[in-house]
């Protein structure tokens, strides 16, 4: 295996790490191979890139130790120092949280207005679309019913022997029934499918928002 292959493989195995850690490890091994008199020998004694990567990852506690070397993590001497540092860090993030809350409160006249406007626009769009769908559905109903009534009435006219009026009315009525049926397919289908889906989406959205908070 060449030096380049080794480094590429190592990069692959370490790709789960943050960029900084990855670069630091890759840089170390690039330098290491440069320093050795015989890069091939050095690669052989390093073992596989996977072995090298596993050592790094297991030391960071990301995977279970698979190496046969016995390296218990003994850091008792440093624990006191570590806990101090952790406490300091927690204090800082607490202060940061407070600052962020203050910032939110101070800027609230701005973002509340914007939020209300955005909400109003979204609401208007939703209402418009729903109204449009309802209008199509109702139109199909009205046209269809009028058509059926006209068709029935045309038989009455037929009985009075006014054939011209009767057949014209019958034709127009059939035409209206057809238009009503045509509109009904998309109109009612949309209403039956879109509205329940819309409310389901709305409910899950609210659930998500409240779970986060």
């Amino acid at each position: 295996m060449t030096k380049e292959q080794f480094i590429e493989e190592l990069k692959g195995y370490l790709s789960v790490l943050p960029k900084e850690e990855l670069e630091s490890a890759v840089k170390y091994y690039e330098e290491y191979l440069e320093e050795s008199e015989d890069a091939d020998d050095a690669i052989k004694s390093l073992g596989s890139a996977k072995n090298v990567a596993d050592q790094i990852l297991s030391d960071m506690g990301r995977v279970e130790t698979s190496s046969t070397e016995n390296i218990p993590v003994v850091t008792e001497l440093k624990t006191e120092e570590n806990t101090k540092k952790k406490k300091e860090k927690k204090g800082l993030t607490g202060l940061e949280t407070v600052l962020i809350i203050i910032l939110c409160v101070i800027t609230s006249p701005l973002w509340i207005t914007l939020a209300v406007a955005a909400f109003a626009i979204a609401f208007a769009i939703i209402v418009t679309v729903l109204t449009l769908l309802l209008a199509i559905a109702l139109a199909s109903l009205v046209v269809g019913v009028a058509g059926i009534l006209g068709f029935v009435v045309s038989f009455g006219v037929l009985a009075s022997a006014d054939f011209a009026t009767a057949f014209t009315l019958m034709g127009v009525s059939l035409f209206m029934i057809a238009i009503g049926a045509l509109l009904a397919i998309p109109g009612w289908a949309i209403i039956l499918k879109v509205i329940p889906a819309f409310f389901k989406g709305l409910v899950s959205l609210f659930k998500k928002i409240f779970r986060i908070k």
């Binding site: 190496s67 850091t75 440093k78």
Partner: protein, 104 residues
């Protein structure tokens, strides 16, 4: 080697080596390998940990047209090393006493 090497022993050895003079990864590895049977891939996690614990700090220096990352012991690292030295001394004495069959 018959005796397993603990992480703290590696830390102690690295700190001792770097405290003599600032040096780089390859040389530290070779020096440790003269004493104990450590695989060549063991050192990087040790160095990384010591850097993170601020026992060591690193700086880059050019050598023959390429970069070498040198390590230097910090004040905290020096304190840690003297702790390790004391611990090792007492550990060694106790083990020696038993191993060499002395009467306690």
């Amino acid at each position: 080697m018959a005796f397993p090497i603990s992480a703290s022993l590696l830390d102690a050895l690295v700190l001792a080596i770097v405290s003599k003079e600032d040096t780089y990864g390859y040389k530290i590895t070779q020096e440790i390998r003269e004493a104990i049977d450590m695989s060549e891939s063991t050192l990087y996690p040790v160095l990384r940990r010591l850097l993170k614990d601020e026992c060591l700090e690193s700086y880059d220096k050019e050598y023959m047209g390429r970069n070498r990352r040198y390590y230097r012991v910090t004040t905290a690292g020096a304190a840690q090393l003297s702790l390790y030295r004391e611990e090792w001394k007492s550990h060694k004495q106790k083990v020696d006493r038993i191993m060499e069959g002395e009467n306690i």
